[in-house]
Symmetry: C2
Subunit: 289 residues, 2 copies
Amino acid sequence: MNLIDGNNIAESVINELKEIVSLQVEKPCVAFVRVGNDPASVSYVRKKEKTAEKVGILSKLYVLPNSISENDLLERISELNNDRTVHGILVQAPLPHHINARCIFNHVAPSKDVDGFHAENLGKLCQEEETFISCTPAGISELIKRKKIETEGKHVVIVGRSLIVGKPAGMLFLKKGINGNSTVTFCHSRTPNLPEITRQADIVVAAIGKPLFIKPEMVKTGAVVIDVGINRISDPSKKSGFRLVGDVDFEKVAPKCKFITPVPGGVGPMTVAMLMSNTVQAFLKSRSS
Amino acid sequence: MNLIDGNNIAESVINELKEIVSLQVEKPCVAFVRVGNDPASVSYVRKKEKTAEKVGILSKLYVLPNSISENDLLERISELNNDRTVHGILVQAPLPHHINARCIFNHVAPSKDVDGFHAENLGKLCQEEETFISCTPAGISELIKRKKIETEGKHVVIVGRSLIVGKPAGMLFLKKGINGNSTVTFCHSRTPNLPEITRQADIVVAAIGKPLFIKPEMVKTGAVVIDVGINRISDPSKKSGFRLVGDVDFEKVAPKCKFITPVPGGVGPMTVAMLMSNTVQAFLKSRSS
């Protein structure tokens, strides 16, 4: 078993970005839009602000009331789209139920869409064109690359078909060329024989949002397991009353794996690092165009 | 074995569209852009023109010289994008080598992109948003729907990862809800154990562009086989010296199948029918917006 240390790799990415930014006269700037005060969102955005600061990226935080109308939110995004001092825009999910999140994400200018959620950027990913790739899949790809894990001709099984993780992650493994060329299977809640399929995988990406879902009998010996899940389960032994676990039953699965990402400290920090990478890319592109 | 008669189903689609168009005061109009005189392109575009006429769709043909520059072609497309009398635009592939095809397809206004090749429309397909779906995958989906073939929980294996067929077809089977909810595997030329994977499939979509590639030992008994290939192989017994075959060794594979599409007369006619369907949708949307 070989642990993939996401904190360590994320730090390398951040240091490389810091180096790039330090050579620039102007600094990249990312706008964070947070609607309401959901504690998880508050904490995620704070984490992103801190990381931006480390890299040397300026950030602006816009906190909008939970009651904001979809139209008003669209208008605020238009303002940011038109603001030449802002290079990247991130609208923190989840959004209130009365707002169509898809519509909001598709309203962010594709050139500032550092979250990679816009239809055009997702389409370009499918087209294997250069684009902003959704941060979690980009982080997975970066881990695979830096750990020199072979993907060519390997069978990658993606568990979960979300737009933010499952689908784009699969597209990255499927693309032609280096760090791609995999056979890719998408399974999900409607897959009847899921263990039979995950057992065939050379690489399993668990992104189904169910705590400890992937059990050792679902993974072949020598597999690489990437755990995208971040789930709270109650744990009376902790002061907070809960602990974070992934979608993989780590303790039992890890001994079978060639490589595995822990939760926390695996994919999570990479997601934030890739957001910074996308922001720096957006900035550099805005300079060159 | 149960043959899926694409000609017959395409005719139903065309008749339904004709009915819709007959109720309209104005008529939909599609622009065909053909660069050069490649005989296959000439014949495809002619087929599309004839089908448009059957439906009651007006068509305009623009034949441009093979020597046209990318910039000039982009400009012609801009003109069509701005032409309010044109509801759909189809640029016939393949384009000359000096032209970046991706750049051309991404220049067609998404609202007129009846081929469904634009990044934004492809992205919306991944997002499970309403969009123009690339005609061949849309045709496959329509065949599955009209033959009432169950997809929920079924394993669909897509052989071929092209942007025009493989990837969007997989996304359609993967989407949530009716005619979706499948487990989807993409395999391709870099898949080492391809027969092992196709043998697991309840539904095989062969879109790899290799004549007679899928052999009976690669398909399980009772599978549904959708053959997207259109390949010319030499046949001295024919006047033309060749005949059309699919990517499936039909004669040998058909006896094992629950359903199979022939070539010709399977997916091919559906592709043209769905182009008409997209054009009618583009027209109706332009009326309502």
